[in-house]
Symmetry: none
Subunit: 413 residues, 2 copies
């Protein structure tokens, strides 16, 4: 991939518009050898017709064989080297929660994801506190936020995200994000005591020790405040990191980008890169409406479809097929807006067979006046393997979209 | 790509011969959605027959989505990382003009491309001075070369290239190539005053200021000398750079290379890399004759076809088709020479539809006794997408050619 420095030099502003649909966990596998994947099983007349008029191919989120989390996978889709821009989940969650704020975080902030959990006799017996509902989660987070106050001069904020999930945000000079997860990841284990990561350079180790001491006091105070709550009588923390600003879409690509996404984490990544997060509903149809209503105001749209991934994670092949068909149904509405470039892919594969993210490359289609057509007539993993894009990296997609929108100048004379 | 250091270690000398045909701007697009590209439209029985006996694929000049200039695109074809070896057009032009000299430039030289232009009332009204013909351009360049002399101890040379184009070459210790183009790039604008680029480190800035002062005096003296000429009464300068030697083909690949090219710029790149530039005529047939006559004396031949690009730039689809058919006609003559490896591709795409260079990958074929055959039966963008080379980078081509010529040792035990 080319450097951001070069991309800044080459990128051009013009009137053309890019729509980038990302179906989370789109790629799949057949449940039985020789069968069809979720996407190949789905009835997708609109996607197929579009594929026939597009350049198709396969995309590796990171490099072949590597299964990515959603954070790095999305960074790659937006042209950010996921091995370089390695931000903790705590930052992404906080950006998601605060995506409508002017300045979600600053460089004195350290954040972690927080789960409400159940602690019995010193052991974690439920890492999600019975998946407490939204309202209850919000009440508990607010209790902590008000009850903990500041610790050793560090401002402590607790935000609620969804159900049993939230974020812990610390603010002070000289904090470090190099803190161990307190979530043991397994049941009937004690929570891990907040501590600095090992092997840090001395100055960082000092900051991390101080930060860990603050986190330890936070966990103690939280346990006290939640002592009489059940099942959410404890908190687990993971994905600590310190905020550092990333290059912004506006600077790198000279785009005015917007995000249409229903889930906080994806809004968070988008916001982190400078996208305006648009308020939207909960269905793909709602998202189309949001796209339509805001189409005049931006020149790049990240359109995220979440439930392909959720269905895959649940191992529900048929549910994933249905979400794909739901997505297919909005394609004519997207095309009606006449985007100059329409790119459709996923962030990673989530085969129902594996009930988890996987390393399999994803089908992609690039539709534009200047995209070469190929022999692909159906949007699916097998067919796209024969497409004219070949097998490319997720980080190649932004340059390809920009080129097709005639938004990239020539490199060299 | 592997490093030059490793390539030097692995490369071997033997008797086998490589011919590398580069059709400039070869890749194209259909003029109408669903139609055929220039190459797919052309009748190319020889190329098709050859493709059927070759490994085929698609090549990205730089990385997917990036549109290259001819300079970086050719460097990549020759295995030089185009993002690392970023030489100004002034250097390439000067090497083109002086390609038959033993030492075209030295490390005290700074060069720029020079255009004769028309200046009226302080504004540029023709950036090419009515495209003054060759003889007139030569006379005017000679006037400047003799008339300007040296400036502040800097030796000033003006060379004629073709028609309204030439080069300005400065020679002295302590010059800098970090000088702004004086060509405003648009009509009815005043020329830009020679100045140092902004944001240079202090030592370089000092050199650049001195160099810019010399260039400023040159432009003033040139304007005086040309005052009574019309329409070529002014000069515009662009692509300033200081010469620095590049790794030579002989060292890196242990090859004895020769270039058959009709245009100075391509001869320049070839000469810069240490190739012997062979004197040739103006047609592809002339170039075949030159190849035949010199075939015994070299083991690597860069064979450049220019007019595919010119036709594309003119938006003349049919003319580009004709040039491709002309190229097809020389293929039997090339095969008659029995090269051990014959590789055919372009440096970048120049679709007539876009009238400019583009980012689209290029078809490539590699013909050798050791190249796997694939299902491709026609040399075209769509067909080559299904070839066994897949989608590769231009910098991969030299190693592939060397390997097929059995000129690369094993890496590691």
């Amino acid at each position: 991939m080319i450097s951001f420095e070069l991309m800044k030099r080459l990128s051009l502003q013009n009137e053309s518009k890019i729509v980038f649909i990302v179906a989370d966990g789109l790629g799949g596998l057949a449940m039985k050898a020789g069968g069809k994947t979720e996407l190949e099983t789905a009835r997708t007349p609109n996607l197929d017709r579009l594929a026939a008029r597009s350049s198709c191919g396969l995309v590796d989120p990171i490099t072949p064989g590597i299964t990515p989390g959603s954070g790095p996978a999305h960074l790659a889709l937006f042209g950010y080297d996921p091995l370089e821009f390695d931000l903790g989940r705590g930052i992404l969650s906080t950006f998601g929660i605060r995506c409508f704020q002017k300045t979600p975080m600053n460089e004195r902030n350290v954040a972690a994801r927080m789960n409400f959990a159940t602690l019995e006799n010193g052991l974690i017996t439920d890492r999600r506190a019975g998946r407490v509902p939204d309202r209850e989660g919000r009440r508990l987070a607010s209790l902590l936020d008000k009850g903990v106050g500041s610790i050793d001069g560090v401002k402590v904020t607790v935000e609620h995200e969804k159900e049993y999930r939230g974020a812990l945000i610390l603010e002070a000079r000289g904090l470090s994000g190099k803190i161990l997860d307190t979530d043991p990841g397994l049941l009937n284990k004690p929570p891990i005591t907040p501590a600095a990561l090992k092997g840090l350079p001395r100055a960082e180790a000092e900051k991390a020790r101080k930060t860990a001491a603050v986190v330890k006091k936070f966990v103690q105070r939280a346990a006290k405040i939640l002592a009489k709550e059940h099942p959410a009588n404890f908190v687990l923390l993971r994905g600590f990191d310190k905020f550092r600003p990333l290059p912004q879409f506006q600077e790198v690509y000279k785009l005015n980008p917007a995000a249409v996404a229903t889930y906080p984490m994806y809004r968070g990544v988008a916001r982190l890169l400078g996208m305006e997060v648009l308020k939207t509903g909960t269905t793909i149809k709602d998202e189309l409406k949001t796209l339509r209503e805001n189409f005049a105001d931006h020149d790049y749209f990240f359109f995220h479809v979440k439930k392909t991934d959720s269905a895959g994670e649940d191992g529900d092949f048929d549910a994933k097929v249905r979400v794909i068909e739901e997505m297919d149904a909005v394609i004519p509405g997207v095309l009606k807006l006449k985007p100059d470039v329409l790119m459709i892919t996923g962030d990673h594969s989530t085969p129902a067979l594996l009930k988890s993210h996987s390393w399999h490359p994803l089908p992609v289609l690039v539709y534009s006046k200047y995209a070469r057509r190929d022999s692909v007539r159906k949007f699916g993993e097998g067919d796209c393997a024969a497409g004219c894009l070949g097998r490319i990296r997720a980080t190649d997609l932004m340059p390809i979209a920009m080129a097709n929108a005639l938004k990239l100048a020539k490199y060299g004379a």
